[in-house]
Symmetry: C2
Subunit: 202 residues, 2 copies
């Protein structure tokens, strides 16, 4: 009895390679493979996978948001998040979205196969060290707008650009940046952004 898998990762070569790796397991069958977050739910509805393996950083919808959509539209499909970064905020959001497993790409291949089996057996699989850091990190202290401003700061060079992008005055942007900087115990917005990203808060 095969476990049907859906793969979602925007890098085609990596996605094919994961498919090849999983095909080495006798009881796994990759029934769908997509490169964008917004293609996950439609593919799940079409192919009825038992487990969806979702990368986080994808175009169209990130893997965490795709997991939330799956929880609503295909609740029978379990989710394992596969990610480059074991960020506390990612883990928290994955669990909140109902993910049953969370695997970091640094992990040995056996961890992935084992995670899938245990998830199928009804367990929720989290690395204890990651769980500890997620609990220690607590929730993001940032308000929605502080987060918006930090996200906008990723691609903007100046406060004026952030302000234009979010339809705010420059003074307001400076205030939001200031509070974000304080909450992250940073010295400037670059450091605040880096910290919030590392925590998976964005």
């Amino acid at each position: 009895m095969s476990i049907h898998l859906l793969l979602a990762d925007d890098q085609e070569l990596v996605r094919s390679a994961l498919g090849a790796l999983l095909s080495l397991e006798d009881d796994f069958e990759v029934v769908a493979s997509v490169g964008r977050g917004d293609e996950v739910a439609p593919a799940a509805l079409a192919h009825h996978p038992d487990v969806a393996l979702l990368d986080i950083e994808m175009p169209g919808l990130d893997g965490l948001a795709a997991a939330a959509v799956l929880a609503e539209q295909a609740p029978g499909c379990k989710v394992v998040i596969l990610t480059t970064f074991g960020r506390a905020g990612y883990l928290r959001r994955a669990m909140e979205a109902g993910a049953a497993g969370f695997v970091v790409k640094d992990a040995p291949a056996e961890v992935l196969a084992e995670t899938i089996h245990r998830v199928m057996a009804g367990e929720r699989i989290i690395d204890p060290a990651l769980a500890a850091s997620a609990l220690a990190a607590g929730e993001s202290p940032l308000t929605a707008r502080e987060r918006d401003v930090l996200v906008a700061a990723r691609s903007a060079a100046t406060v004026a650009e952030i302000a234009a992008a979010l339809y705010l005055s420059e003074g307001t942007v400076r205030n939001y940046l200031s509070t974000a900087i304080a909450k992250t115990h940073s010295r400037n917005r670059t450091e605040a952004l880096r910290f919030a990203e590392d925590q998976g808060w964005l």
Copy 2:
């Protein structure tokens, strides 16, 4: 007659998956697999691969530097760079280091197998669009110290920190940043850093 391959990628799961993918080809054999750039040359000397597939961003030594070491120490081993980012500067540096091929992880799996075969046949394989963008981008206009300062700016929050890290005065750092900002046609150091990274100049 198998083509012997060496794999270098710091993410173990991805590395194993690539190994599985390549094993699907009858004439490929993965003879070595490492997770750090500084392990590449020793592994090549121990296992005599025909082709080394090197990720760029790895601890210990980046894939481009590892390629240069291979060119010296194991000149019979051809190099294919495997990268997340098709940055012009990466391509340029890869070619300068003697790499015979350059594959972006977004590419379909068949491109990788084909690249390896053609490299074995003596060709140098570059995507024409990437080559065009590398030629259009030209060489990095940054001096060594400008680059050092930008690299230091990745993890530093303030000019004072960059200065301390590089044993320079703050005024000197501000000058180097200023020239780097001008050369990259940026508005501040954050944007200059982003641009230089996107070009693969760092």
